[in-house]
Symmetry: C2
Subunit: 381 residues, 2 copies
């Protein structure tokens, strides 16, 4: 047994081919279907990026118009879904609600759902279109507020803010929200996307596969880092406190959230864009405290790491929580927003998996006993 | 690119160590924590096997009494869960309902759910205890019948039949149902169990992990084979029709369901036990048609395969659907029953995964483009 080696967590193991996303960690670049994330985040809308992820090509004007219309038409939630959100247990997490609800949505689609590689998952798009409404409804019911129906004249990001707060955001806020979703839409084979592909490989439905992926993203080792960065910012509170807080954290070997990334050895290109968004909103709302604290954390932490010869950079989670917070979003919705964005990427991977499918069924290395004798219950100790 | 090879579907790749289950396909043996399936199915109850799977050892009399009491106390469904089942879309599949509901159950547990390797998943046991009630309630509501509360004087299997039909089954029927669950409780790293482990590796909750596994089992390449065997039996209808039906099926290269298994080269030990159950019930209820058709399919199919030099045996799905059918269970509940049984195995794997956890994050082989130039929308064709 001792001489059989394997890669724990499948680290470094190739689990499949993909042409959806390239994370070039060495050079700090990220691509969706070959397009640079910087182009996507500056020039496209989330709906356009979703089209790209589902079809592999950017849409023409007509294609985008049709696609947006279809997606916006699918935003409205049916009464039983709203009831389900109302009935959701008081102390549970919205990610658990989301995982449950996505599956329920499949009952109201306009196309037939098939257990087949050719099932047309691109058709109804509830999995992507309705998640903002579910999150917003959860928040509003919890706070004793009414459900706000979606508007079809707003982008995916702006409509989310509308359904959440009942006020149409100004263009800038709506656009920043939409672009934050673009930045989180896809990131190759992480645990949740891999989960979606494993489930899809059984030819289960795309709803079931996305529901499963949401369960995976809920794990504290996966989604949720930006919520923790936000908590860190609140704990540190001011620029003056950064250095003593960090020195203490390093002495106690605490993990500093939002710094460093398994894959990126250079700067995460998404963090650069996210920092710009945070600067814009901080100035606009006259509240630079979060930005100031974060920049000081970045500076002092890098200084400390350079002493050890380890250059380290902020990742996308470092700034995103503060951006959401300035947009008026409570921190327990940060991971659900991640799911709202990643739904497009998950769907892309489900489609790709089905195109050339093989059921995922790895082997276990059995390290237990065999042929144990059966003890009668009275003889057990 | 061309000279990079990898195992599609991770076939043959070791994804982790486990001491829960050994499938010895060469010799047609199956073990849960080292105990033979034949011992388990003849000497234990499903609750006892669940205890074994969750603790790694068979319980003493006191441990089993306490465990059974706890599990039975957890059977009752809360009103919002019943409402959710009532509201479930008319044409959706009960597996979709189950995937949604399991997550909702987490809102009513007696212990704190933590995102931590030490979260006490063995405590409330709703994930295992309540699934029979959810399935039964689904069936009854669909058929305009009332919900039947669980009884705590019945075994897991017998209580399911009670909640489904509103009649206490006789001892033999209850015991056969319970033992069918034992036979399906665990089978190492198949796609659904692997899904549960991947989700658990993010430190997501056991409810979220089991919900995801249910989504995986729903796929037509995974669960659902016994439902298809049942449909085959109904299509063939009589012993006389078997030979022409099979000859036609083989000529058209149709898959004959329930015969053969990727792992078992010898007879699947579960199929032997399942055949006994079917014989017992067929005689008891004076209805041997299904058994006769199946035995004839087995005989003729083996004959045909031996001509090609490929010995082939029935697997567990070959007989199980007919057993359930004789117990009065409709065929759309067969895969949910599989989930009801496998919940114990999934929970065992979640616990084991957490004991020595590493996040699952394999690599993708990127085969797409890079640095595509951005086309303005009016220039796209």
């Amino acid at each position: 047994m001792a001489d059989i080696t394997y890669a724990k967590g499948l680290e470094g193991v190739i689990a499949g081919e993909s042409s959806i996303c390239k994370v070039d960690g060495e050079n700090g670049r990220l691509y969706y279907y070959g397009y640079r994330i910087t182009d996507l985040a500056t020039r496209a809308t989330f709906e356009e990026v979703t089209y790209l992820l589902l079809y592999g090509e950017l849409p023409t004007t007509k294609q985008l118009t049709d696609f947006s219309r279809r997606m916006r038409k699918s935003r409205e939630l049916k009464p039983p879904i709203l009831q389900m959100i109302k009935d959701f247990p008081r102390d549970s997490h919205p990610m658990e609600l989301l995982q449950s609800t996505v599956n329920f949505l499949s009952g109201y689609v306009d196309h037939k759902i098939e257990h087949s590689p050719t099932c047309n998952c691109r058709q109804t798009l509830h999995q992507v279109a309705q998640i903002p409404g579910v999150i917003a409804a959860f928040y509003r019911f919890k706070n004793g507020l009414d459900y706000i129906p979606p508007r079809d004249d707003l982008s995916h990001g702006a409509n989310f803010l509308w359904q959440l707060k009942g006020e149409v955001p100004d263009n800038e806020d709506g656009e920043i929200m939409d672009k934050c979703l673009i930045l989180h839409a896809e990131h190759s084979f992480n645990a949740s996307t891999f989960t979606a592909r494993v489930v899809a490989s059984t030819l289960s439905t795309c709803y079931c596969s996305i529901s499963a992926a949401i369960g995976s993203l809920f794990g504290s080792l996966h989604g949720g880092a930006n919520e923790k960065v936000m908590a860190m910012v609140e704990e540190i509170d001011s620029v003056e406190n950064v250095r003593p807080w960090l020195e203490n954290a390093l002495a106690e070997k605490k993990k500093v959230m939002g710094m460093g990334h398994r894959v990126y050895k250079a700067k995460d290109p998404r963090s650069v864009i996210m920092e710009d968004f945070l600067r814009t909103l901080s100035i606009k709302y006259g509240d630079t405290r979060k930005l100031d604290v974060l920049k000081e954390v970045e500076k002092v932490f890098r200084e400390k790491m350079e002493e050890k010869g380890k250059p380290i950079y902020p990742n996308v989670d470092f700034f995103s929580g503060s951006v959401y917070s300035l947009l008026g979003i409570p921190s327990n919705l940060f991971t659900p927003i991640f799911a709202m964005a990643r739904a497009s990427g998950w769907l892309a991977h489900i489609l790709e998996q089905r195109q050339d499918n093989r059921l995922f069924r790895p082997k276990a290395l059995y390290v237990g006993d065999l042929d144990r004798e059966w003890p009668e219950i009275e003889d057990r100790i």
